[in-house]
């Protein structure tokens, strides 16, 4: 896969990084990433992956844009209220780079849908907002042996973790199921934005191979105290999803 003159110009500032270079750019261009959920976290991830040059993005979200989304989901605008998030997000990403191959899924998805959607992709981003949906993404990715990056944000904090099936704990191993899931969680807009951008950072590193990326750890941020930590995640030997992987 060669880069055109226009592509060389578009991405020249990151290609100029020796650690990234043309090799990294080509890897991004030939990559397919699925993003489940384009709310506060996933929409920021999508914007940065599109800008960075990921060749194909699959955008999955059943929700529509509402007024209360706009303080943190900056991919959307007032005029988008009532429109399907996946479709609006897809259009914004194409406005950044018309050469991106975009797939849109703007309906509810179950486990069998997710299995089908992730097939053939290089990486999955889980930015869903419901536990059951997240666990379905986890199960499909473990079954397909696909790496998945999970992102969470609420109130003054957020976190991210890379799961590599067979090597690290999976989401089922460590997700707290007792979490109360209100319809609307209080959140600072920057909590979602910073986590979303960090998911893109992790994704780009995973796809290109530069730098260091911790799999099997929690990247945890508290924005009230401005504290950042990486914390270990251990596999559950009795995990019903990944114990035989």
């Amino acid at each position: 896969m060669n880069l055109s003159r226009q592509e060389m110009e578009r991405w020249q500032r990151q290609i100029a990084l020796p650690e990234f270079g043309i090799k990294g750019q080509k890897r991004l261009k030939s990559s397919t990433v699925v993003i489940f959920g384009v709310g506060g976290v996933g929409s920021a991830t999508a914007l940065y992956l599109a800008g960075a040059g990921v060749g194909k993005l699959s955008i999955v979200d059943r929700d529509v844009v509402s007024l209360s989304n706009l303080h943190r989901q900056l991919i959307y605008q007032n005029q988008d209220i009532g429109q399907a998030k996946a479709r609006v997000a897809g259009a914004r990403l194409l406005a950044i780079d018309p050469s991106i191959n975009i797939d849109i899924v703007d309906k509810s998805v179950d486990l069998s849908d997710i299995r089908r959607i992730v097939q053939g992709s290089n990486l999955v981003i889980d930015a869903f907002d419901k536990i059951d949906s997240r666990l379905a993404v986890n199960q499909a990715c473990v079954e397909e042996r696909l790496a998945v990056i999970h992102g969470f944000a609420q109130e003054f904090s957020g976190e991210a973790c890379l799961v590599e099936p067979g090597k690290t704990a999976c989401l089922e191993c460590f997700l707290d199921r007792s979490t109360y899931e209100p319809e609307a969680t209080p959140i600072l807009n920057i909590s979602a934005g910073i986590i979303g951008i960090h998911l893109a950072n992790m994704a780009i590193k995973y796809l290109t191979g530069y730098g260091e990326l911790l799999a099997g750890y929690r990247y945890f941020w508290d924005f009230y105290f401005d504290q950042f930590l990486t914390l270990p995640l251990l596999r559950n030997p009795d995990c019903v999803i990944c114990k035989h992987v």
Binding site: V41, F152, A153, S157, D222, F225, Q227, L231, L234
Partner: protein
């Protein structure tokens, strides 16, 4: 001696605050501080921070308590004047 205890993420739903300033005995260990926090707020906050028998999602002065190079005594680390202990809640939350 004086220490600061910070509560992160979902723990604040139980503690209803982001921090406690505490006067505690010299030589208090992290394990003993866990007991104090449990006596104040019930068992959930500390239990959430101990997800496996050999993992603790707790920091001292912004360092991960599981880092054996820094904290070879892990939960039996003795706290010092001015230490800041952070309790990090469970992996949870919407996006």
């Amino acid at each position: 001696m004086h220490i600061t205890v910070r509560y992160y993420g979902r723990l604040t739903h139980v503690t209803m605050k982001h921090r406690d300033e505490m006067i505690v005995d010299e030589g208090l260990t992290l394990r003993q501080l866990n007991d104090i926090v449990t006596s104040r707020y019930g068992k959930d906050p500390v239990n959430w921070c101990l997800p496996r028998p050999n993992v603790a999602w707790i920091s001292i002065n912004r360092e991960d308590i599981n880092d054996k190079n820094i904290f070879p005594d892990w939960l039996d680390t003795e706290l010092k004047e001015g230490d800041v202990v952070g309790y990090i809640g469970p992996v949870s939350g919407p996006a």
